[in-house]
Point group: C2
Chain length 222, copies 2
Amino acid sequence: MGRSAKGRQRQRDVVAAALRLVARGGIPAASVRGVAAEAGMSVGAVRHFFPTQEQLLEQVMADVTAEAAHRLVPLIRALGDATTAAEGRDAACALLEELLPLDERRRVEWFLWSAVAHSATHPAGLDRWREAGWAGVRHQCRRVVGHLNDRAVPIVEADTMDVHDVVDSTATIPELEDPALEARVTALHAALDGLAAQLTATPAPIDGASARHALRELVGIL
Amino acid sequence: MGRSAKGRQRQRDVVAAALRLVARGGIPAASVRGVAAEAGMSVGAVRHFFPTQEQLLEQVMADVTAEAAHRLVPLIRALGDATTAAEGRDAACALLEELLPLDERRRVEWFLWSAVAHSATHPAGLDRWREAGWAGVRHQCRRVVGHLNDRAVPIVEADTMDVHDVVDSTATIPELEDPALEARVTALHAALDGLAAQLTATPAPIDGASARHALRELVGIL
């Protein structure tokens, strides 16, 4: 591993450490000092990459958003390619399930989004990412409700998959013209948030199987 | 006001102070010391009513649960009395809206339930209330889905409206026989939780009108 590859790996280690800390203790747990201890580095080494906690957390949000977008793109394409109603429902469920904390990676992501959404005191630089996360989920819900009701929703092209482009383009996707369908989008988005909260509560009141079953039933009537 | 009426009023003041503190700062904010300061009393006066924080919080949960049950009973009866489909949908919406943080009182209640559900370190005595809160909402969702699909769900009689009886009886209400309808119950419960979270986020991404609209649309397809 060359010098700069090693540097990139160390930077990724810092981001991963910050993500673990936020998942365990919220935004305040991911201080530069705490992240240095978690990553087994000196405070100076962490500050070399991220002079402030805000810059560190912005990088965490950018990486997490990029990874989620990367996972979603093939599922979005599969929904667009679905021709029968049954295929459409299957593809819709696969896309929506990807947004739920059904494995450890998505669980950690969910705690991060939740921390950013509910912490009154997070750094100002995270506002943009909080809004991007919200708009991204909203947009997938709109895509699903649109598809299930024969309204095509445009697909963000793969060659604009730079995370900042995705964030900017997602923010400009218009509402569905029918207010009743937009209300279903709101209901679906809320159901996803509620399933995620119930899956991650301690002790969790629902399990992955019942979350999937509820989502499939909901998709069947949307 | 006699001596014992005054005592009861002071006890209510303590509970109200604890509720405000939980809403602002979670369970840890409602220490006996913090509650005494919030209520403008001595620590000794608070300890006279509630020797421990656990006992204080259990009383808070009991009072909040009793008040919510009191508000819900006429709405539950109205749903049972609805004869046309349109009346049923209206009554269902009224009942479900009562569970959302659409005014200051319900907002404070929601923060309390949320704190108890998501705090990993709350006193053990609150577990029972957390489960009761969960089961109570689940039960109302089951009642609504059952009504909308011509399955009657028994009504807890008003003469058993002691809060402990309500908690015990709610826990024993059976699931709907049709697994697809139970999946709709799960989806509706999740949608309520998600709407509540979105209404109370800072800044709130949705407003009361869009939450009501989404709920009405969802009831229309359940």
